[in-house]
């Protein structure tokens, strides 16, 4: 259902855009394709990895480590993984969805997704370089704490 709405919205935007400015629209489509092609290698790789993980690990194994009843430990594991890995959202969401549908808890997946997006251990040198050590450390630490809060709230709500 959501996908159908998405196609309709994108289609309408595309028509309006091309009526207003044909060249700009062409540029937008080029950009769209380029962005997609940029992400495609990682995207294909993660899809194969998901297939392999899920064929070996069954629901009980996944839920043992990051299932809903693993509580804080599962959340901490998820945050650590999310903080150190540098994978784009377009690659992370399918992985998160696959794990969620196969035994992982919503709080744990929320912790993974939130820390993945807001915490960047790998990019911290770059951040220090621009904003200084203090700001970079405070931002990343608050983001870790925030991911914990998100996990708890979502654990209670979902």
């Amino acid at each position: 259902m959501f996908t159908i709405i998405l196609y309709i919205v994108a289609g309408i935007c595309l028509i309006i855009s091309s009526l207003k400015d044909h060249l700009k629209t062409k540029k937008a489509l080029k950009k769209a394709f380029k962005s997609f092609e940029n992400i495609l290698p990682q995207f294909l790789t993660i899809v194969v990895i998901i297939g392999m993980i899920l064929s070996v690990l069954d629901e009980s194994t996944i839920s043992k480590y990051i299932g809903a009843n693993t509580g804080i430990l599962g959340i901490v594991i998820s945050i650590i993984i999310g903080s150190i890995t540098l994978i784009p959202g377009f690659v992370a969401f399918p992985l998160a969805a696959a794990l969620l549908n196969n035994g992982a808890g919503p709080a744990q997946i929320a912790a993974f997704v939130s820390s993945l997006m807001m915490v960047g251990i790998v990019t911290i040198p770059m951040e220090i370089n621009l904003f200084g050590k203090k700001a970079a450390i405070i931002r990343n630490t608050s983001a870790v704490i925030f991911s914990l809060v998100v996990a708890f709230v979502m654990g209670v709500l979902l």
Partner: protein, 178 residues
């Protein structure tokens, strides 16, 4: 051609590994291929409109004009524009850092710069649509609501934690860069 192989090397290597596993353990290999195929088709069916929206946002949103409205003393309106500016973005978090330097150069408040960084990291519209498509409305929208609160809190903490002296240094540094 070599370039393509290089870029897709992990995919090909894993695919080969998967085939080998399939030969040794036919049961696991078969399941693995089935999951890969269904995941691939499912994702591929939602991705095209998301990337079209991403491209359209990129060409139609005039970032330089928006940056003008997030300057010092722009108040709540400035913060909301900073939030929007980050949300219409495309690209990884580290791509936001150079843009935030431009904002600093235009004397955008530290608070607004970190609102922008926060928005860029979590509330990007194409990403949000993809999150809804993959993880469902309930999950994605709950997380979005929490993220919006979190972005403001983190920006507030940073704004308070960095003293005037350090802020001045940041502005000077931004002026020297680019």
């Amino acid at each position: 051609m070599i370039n393509i192989i290089k870029r897709y090397k992990w995919f090909f290597l894993l695919l080969i590994a998967n085939v080998i596993i399939g030969i040794i353990f036919p049961k696991i290999g078969k399941v693995s291929f089935q999951i890969t195929k269904s995941n691939f088709l499912q994702i591929l069916s939602v991705v095209p409109p998301i990337f079209v929206l991403l491209g359209l946002l990129d060409v139609w949103i005039d970032r330089s004009t928006m940056i003008k409205f997030v300057g010092k003393g722009s108040g709540l309106k400035g913060a909301l524009i900073a939030l929007l500016l980050g949300s219409v973005a495309a690209g990884p978090l580290y791509a936001a850092f150079p843009i935030s330097m431009v904002m600093l150069k235009k004397r955008t408040s530290i608070f607004n710069v970190f609102i922008f960084i926060g928005a860029w990291s979590t509330t990007k519209i194409p990403m949000e649509t993809f999150e809804i498509a993959s993880l469902g409305y309930k999950f994605a929208l709950t997380r979005l609501a929490l993220s919006l609160i979190g972005i403001f809190i983190i920006a507030f903490i940073l704004d308070k934690a960095i003293n005037e002296d350090e802020k001045q240094k940041l502005y000077e540094k931004a002026n020297l860069s680019i």
